[in-house]
Symmetry: C2
Subunit: 236 residues, 2 copies
DNA sequence: AATTAAATATGATAAATGTCATTTATTTAT
DNA sequence: ATAAATAAATGACATTTATCATATTTAATT
């Protein structure tokens, strides 16, 4: 939580026009405002767990969250990185299923909870919101399909480079314009890439040796982005 | 096209209540009926190509279609199997992007085309349809995320078994109750699993030797499903 | 500050999977 | 029906990646 956020009301929320609610009718926003329940999750805290019942959606006003599946052998696969302005928990809700992923705060995070019935009601009344929701789902589906293809076809080196660039796209840089604005363990990076922790560590070291990145504890600097892009070998 | 289908009108279409339009208002169905353009695609024909502009959505009244990405090195990754009652082309349309996948008929297929503006208009007016659409997108997203996790974590043997079961779920069996009701090349099966063609071939032979399946040209019989399920090692 | 625990790093090795080459079978075209 | 082309099968081998062991560094706890 770097930027302080007045999320006393949804109307005055920093993320008001940086969210799925950007085109929602004012009246609906105010209804959401009245029923929302705000909360802070400390780094490492769980918002919800795979297998539990969704009772609404979460709207992030500040902070960072990872969403992940637990694979059969207990290995975590991170499927989404959530940032301020994003909502989460909608997938299971709209499918009418239990959560298929868990959500955990990557840093202290401020979140508002919107109850199920209200969210559904507003979605029904506000076609702008409904279309934004469909666009969000479609975009996520696209991302998932691309990732799926890359997991099937691209070597780990390329996927790691791509992942670093994806983290940058999501969370951006710190003030220095180089350091990724999130702290992830090597294991988390591996679970994002879809590889063994040791392989991720090894390749990060290589990337450093090759002068593409710099490592300092959990800080990762992208010092030669062009080369990273080339390494990622992205066509789409 | 095994079952003959009177798709003269959407109202009388076999798939009327087996599609996303099941809960749509009659009036909207009739509007779609008036503007739809029906078409037959022969086996191997392309409905649309990755990179081209979507002008509407396709609704399958009979037949089978594969949707696939072309990976960077030109290798096909099959991301969806489409059957009668399904719609396709909605992902790109709702994202406002060009197609990110190509669609090709796996057998002679009957399809109706619904123009973009009408589809959007009906989605806007018919909240039941909009919710069905969101559910469809959410379900597809779920599937993609599970697949992504399995690609990252499960060995090919398990993924192949899972794929065979997935084909069964999608297209079912022939009259004998054992033969998968679709003809796919070994290469296509590999591109569904996310592996090299030779690996798919080898493992299919093993499955046969192990008595789980029977192979006869492109016919695949699941003769010991229980064991296949065990091999797939599915937890979710 | 000292101790313990956890995370990161690195080497050695094994296992999984892909690639290439070749044979055999099947399909398609003439 | 025969030839040509394509797909399937199989072996040999190379490459990639995971696993295990261990060392080193960093962070957490007393």
């Amino acid at each position: 939580m770097t930027t302080p956020n007045d999320n006393a009301t949804c109307q005055s929320c920093n993320q008001r026009f940086n969210s799925i609610f950007c085109k929602a009718h004012e009246e609906h926003v105010s209804q959401i405002n009245e029923q929302k329940v705000c909360n802070v999750y400390k780094k490492g805290q769980t918002l919800f767990k795979e297998g539990s019942q969704p009772f609404g959606v979460f709207c992030v006003s500040d902070g960072k969250i990872k969403m992940s599946h637990l694979g059969d052998d207990g290995k975590e696969q991170i499927i989404r990185l959530v940032k301020a302005g994003d909502i989460l928990g909608y997938r299971a809700l709209l499918s009418g299923e239990r959560y298929s992923a868990s959500a955990e705060a990557l840093e202290d995070t401020q979140v508002c909870f919107i109850p199920r019935d209200l969210f559904i009601k507003v979605l029904k009344l506000d076609s702008n919101l409904a279309f934004e929701m469909m666009k969000l789902l479609s975009d996520e589906l696209h991302r998932a399909e691309i990732k799926l293809t890359h997991l099937a076809q691209k070597p780990i080196r390329e996927r790691l480079a791509e992942t670093l660039l994806f983290i940058k796209e999501t969370y951006g840089f710190e003030q220095d314009g180089q350091t990724l604005n999130v702290r992830l363990s090597r294991e988390e990076i591996a679970n994002l890439v879809g590889t063994a922790t040791e392989s991720a560590i090894r390749l990060l070291s290589e990337f450093k040796k090759d002068g593409m990145i710099d490592l300092e504890g959990k800080k990762i600097k992208l010092i030669h982005q062009k080369e990273l892009v080339r390494t990622a070998n992205i066509q789409d």
